[in-house]
Symmetry: C2
Subunit: 195 residues, 2 copies
DNA sequence: AGGATAAGTAAACGAATGTTGACTTGAACC
DNA sequence: GGTTCAAGTCAACATTCGTTTACTTATCCT
């Protein structure tokens, strides 16, 4: 019997607690912002000790940075090059799945400033490449500032909708489903990045 | 010589320092959010002593609430009932004047949560009536959820653009002027609340 | 079985923050 | 001029937060 990977749940599992911390941190950071969220809140929500954050993520900024890069990976995985007419559906799906207590609040992380220079750098990079990918779907070539501006406005609109949904308590926007959003979003994208 | 109101600058002027504190607080709250901003920062920026905040505004939450109501008054003053085709210009003007160090960051206050229940109540009220006024310009009547949803999406888009301009460092969106924004905004509004 | 090592815990530190109270100073009024 | 009271200052408080340190306990290896 050679080395079969042990799949039994271990009472002490570094990878698991690290993952629990990361998930809890993403939820809290996305919902409440960087400065409002305390490490003790995160640790409690993950059910582990506060000191473990320092062990696994060095510091609070390190944890936030890990949240950002994790979100970046998921987003990158999700969307490659897409056709323009599928953009509204994708945005609607992303926006709709972000409820006040929803699981996928990655988008919100892009708006939550930490003050940390490196985290801000990552954040800017994600926003910039997202806008460029969006613009590219509308036939953007480097130098075409008008199209890029419009793509950034689409991105800004999407983020604004997410923000109001998670923290705004505006009806009917908050409880609107993907099917309610995709229509108006389609017209919005069509108007800005036009057919 | 009867009681002519004394217009000479007084070395000690309660109303003036109160105003200085309020302006400094609005700038910092709008730019950095509630929890990130410290009372000592605000007092330093206003050039007065920290303890005066407690005297004039009771507490930090009281100060934030004062900022919100002040912003509400200005916004209410600014826009009564307007025709739909003038909406994009108004939004563009509001959005354009909000630079990273600009003076009028009232809109951002609507997104900065304080956690305080009464402040959140005010915030929700402003957002709700703004959306309804916007919807009314597009012929909305109570019960018409589709139009209201679209008006809220316009509002969300505007706030998202402001947010990315003040904290995003996205070019060309950040340095776009009112004349660059009014065109695309017009198409956005037209598409969502459209004729 | 027994030690070695990683995983987890508990408690405390220093710094920063909101808030409070006593004190000082300037201006208005007699 | 002297009194009075608001306007402004100073210093300290109790908490909270991020972080560190020393300690305990479970799991793996020989």
């Amino acid at each position: 019997m050679t080395a079969a990977p042990d799949t039994r749940p271990r009472r002490r599992d570094a990878a698991k607690t690290r993952r629990l911390l990361l998930e809890a941190a993403r939820d809290r950071f996305a919902r409440d912002g960087y400065n409002t969220t305390t490490l003790r809140d995160i640790a409690d929500e993950a059910g582990v000790n506060v000191a473990l954050i320092a062990r696994y993520f060095e510091s609070k900024e390190g944890l936030f940075e890990a949240c950002l890069t994790a979100a970046v990976d998921e987003l990158r995985h999700e969307a490659g090059d897409v056709a323009l007419d599928r953009v509204p559906q994708i945005i609607a799906a992303q926006v709709a799945t972000v409820g006040p207590h929803g699981p996928t609040g990655q988008l919100m992380l892009l708006l939550r400033s930490s003050g940390d220079e490196r985290a801000d750098e990552i954040r800017r990079g994600v926003l910039r490449t997202s806008a460029e990918r969006l613009a590219a779907a509308a036939g953007w070539r480097p130098g075409d500032d008008e199209t890029l501006l419009r793509a950034q406005m689409v991105l800004a609109a999407s983020l604004g909708i997410v923000l109001l949904r998670v923290s705004g308590a505006l009806e009917p926007l908050m409880s609107a489903g993907e099917e309610d959003l995709s229509g108006p979003l389609g017209e919005l994208v069509g108007a800005l990045l036009g057919r």
